[in-house]
């Protein structure tokens, strides 16, 4: 058939199996992008405000928290709403992506049984769609900053870097937990509980500086935990530029980058090893 011969297979026609796992995944990056779009499209289908909900959500959250903390509980922080949101928005990105992403292998099992593709595209696309949401939710935050007269400093230019580091970390954790969930369905419920606890054991609603110093042993244990908690180094990447108008410290950026890269590398290696066995446990 001349017609067929003319449509000679393009370079991409190499079978996926002959490539390195990373090259394999890179080849499917457009699929990740498409799955992200699909997720957003399906999520906001037939809703009048569509993507606006992503921005309305933090806005409503803001109103509630501002009323509770600033008026009822009389927080000492200035512009407490901004303080709170600059920690809460990255936390919500991390926790929502993780909770949605860890079941993504299970929810796409029909496809995994039938088409050969790198399974990492499913958890990664969930992280991607949540990253879109996270980015959009920063817009009302910036709006609120303007309204409340919070200064805009050049440090805000650091935000994309901070978001990148946070995304690498989130991708790693989500990949790891999505493969564990295939083998142990409890992981999902366990993660829900752990995230609830972690919200209070991470500097989301408070800050390390706000804690002050106390001598009791439990307080020292708590501080030690905060020091060992990887989240403690990720949240300042967003909060420092937004609320304090300064760049995060070099130590923070260094530790955050290192832990994110290590997490992602370990997660990818584990995922790649376990993925061929998923099909027997779905």
């Amino acid at each position: 058939m001349t017609e067929l011969a003319e449509r000679a297979a393009p370079a991409a026609a190499l079978p996926p199996g002959t490539r390195s796992p990373i090259g394999d995944l890179l080849r499917y990056r457009q699929l990740v992008a498409m799955l992200v779009v699909r997720e957003l499209k399906v999520r906001y289908k037939r809703s009048v405000f569509g993507l606006l909900w992503t921005m309305l959500n933090p806005l409503l959250l803001m109103v509630v928290y501002t009323i509770v903390f600033a008026t009822i509980m009389r927080s000492p922080q200035k512009n407490f709403a901004i303080f709170l949101l600059s920690g809460l928005l990255p936390w919500l990105f991390f926790s929502t992506a993780l909770l949605q992403g860890l079941t993504s292998i299970l929810t796409n099992q029909e496809l995994i049984r039938k088409v050969r593709l790198p399974q990492a595209v499913f958890p990664l696309s969930v992280v991607g769609s949540n990253l879109v949401n996270f980015s959009l939710s920063l817009l009302p935050l910036l709006l609120l900053m303007a309204v409340l007269g919070q200064p805009f400093t050049p440090a805000l230019l650091f935000l994309p870097v901070g978001m990148l580091i946070l995304t690498v970390f989130t991708s790693g954790v989500t990949l790891l937990f999505s493969t564990f969930t295939v083998f142990f369905r409890d992981v999902r419920h366990l993660t829900e509980v752990l995230l609830q606890m972690l919200l209070y054991l991470s500097p989301v609603l408070y800050d390390l500086q706000m804690l002050g110093d106390r001598g009791e042993w439990w307080f020292r244990a708590f501080r030690l935990f905060l020091r060992l908690n990887p989240i403690s180094y990720l949240l300042p990447l967003i909060r420092d530029p937004v609320y304090y108008g300064r760049l995060p410290s070099l130590t923070t950026v260094g530790v955050a980058s290192l832990e994110s890269v290590v997490m992602a590398a370990v997660a990818f290696a584990v995922f790649h090893r376990l993925a061929p066995r998923h099909i027997h446990y779905l």
Binding site: A12, K114, F184
Partner: protein
């Protein structure tokens, strides 16, 4: 290896039986002690060797549960062999199930791009194919409609239209031609014959001698996970009938 070549050497696929399948942490801990030695395996396929040359057409024949689908899935790369080796060279168009990966909420148009991406094509590559796919599917009027409103025939037409346009070296068809009306079935068969004459390797699963004979000169008969016959299609059917009449051995469960 040349494109379109399939090389299967002493391949086996085992499934863990449900008892052994661990789904909760508690079971995992308990099973650590209980099932330490005796893991029960079910061999869906064992000691299968097949060499398929580029451009060859082979029909896979066997009773339900004989391992045909397992073999197809292994060739398609969805399953990894538990033992032996399976080497497949070239792009595979898996029509194991038409429209696998369709999202019912999305339009036919979006699904064409999504399905293309699932098969490893970029958006640009799919744009070049788009018009041909729509034309082949004869769904131009419905292409912007969510496919949950499609009939099952339309669904299969769109699926086949995509699968026939991915420039495969190996075409895997799992009895999908039973869907759609007769005219469309003929169109699909004609398309498959085109592929055949273009030198595409063709693996076909069928329970119907006529359909298989029309497309494949060679057939492999699978019986309870073993390769029972490999040769000309006419003789294969005799062997298949013979096996069907014979005593059916129990499932092969082996302690490993």
């Amino acid at each position: 290896m040349r494109n379109g070549e399939i090389h299967i050497r002493d391949a086996g696929i085992s499934y863990r039986l449900y008892r052994e399948k661990v789904s909760t942490l508690k079971e995992a801990v308990v099973n650590r002690f209980r099932h330490l030695r005796s893991v029960e395996m079910f061999w869906a396929l064992r000691h299968v060797s097949l060499d398929i040359q580029p451009g060859e057409a082979i029909a896979l024949v066997g009773h339900n549960g004989s391992g045909k689908s397992t073999l197809l899935k292994t060739i398609a790369g969805v399953l990894q062999p538990s033992e032996g080796e399976v080497l497949v060279q070239g792009r595979i168009s898996p029509m194991i199930e038409l429209g696998a990966g369709f999202d019912a909420e999305l339009s036919g148009r979006d699904n064409i791009f999504l399905n293309g991406a699932l098969l490893g094509f970029s958006r640009k590559q799919m744009e070049a194919k788009f018009d041909r796919i729509v034309e082949f599917s004869e769904l131009a009027d419905f292409i912007d409609m969510p496919i949950k409103n499609y009939s099952s025939g339309m669904y299969a037409r769109l699926g086949f239209a995509i699968a026939q346009d991915v420039e495969p070296d190996i075409l895997i068809v799992d009895e999908v031609l039973a869907v759609g009306d007769e005219r469309f079935q003929e169109k699909c068969k004609a398309r498959i014959r085109d592929f055949r004459s273009a030198g595409v390797t063709f693996c076909f699963v069928s329970h119907h001698l006529d359909a298989a004979k029309e497309l494949c000169p060679r057939a492999a008969v699978l019986h309870h996970g073993r390769l029972a016959f490999d040769g000309p299609i006419d003789q294969s059917w005799e062997r298949y009938r013979e096996l069907e009449r014979g005593p059916v051995p129990g499932p092969q469960i082996e302690a490993g």
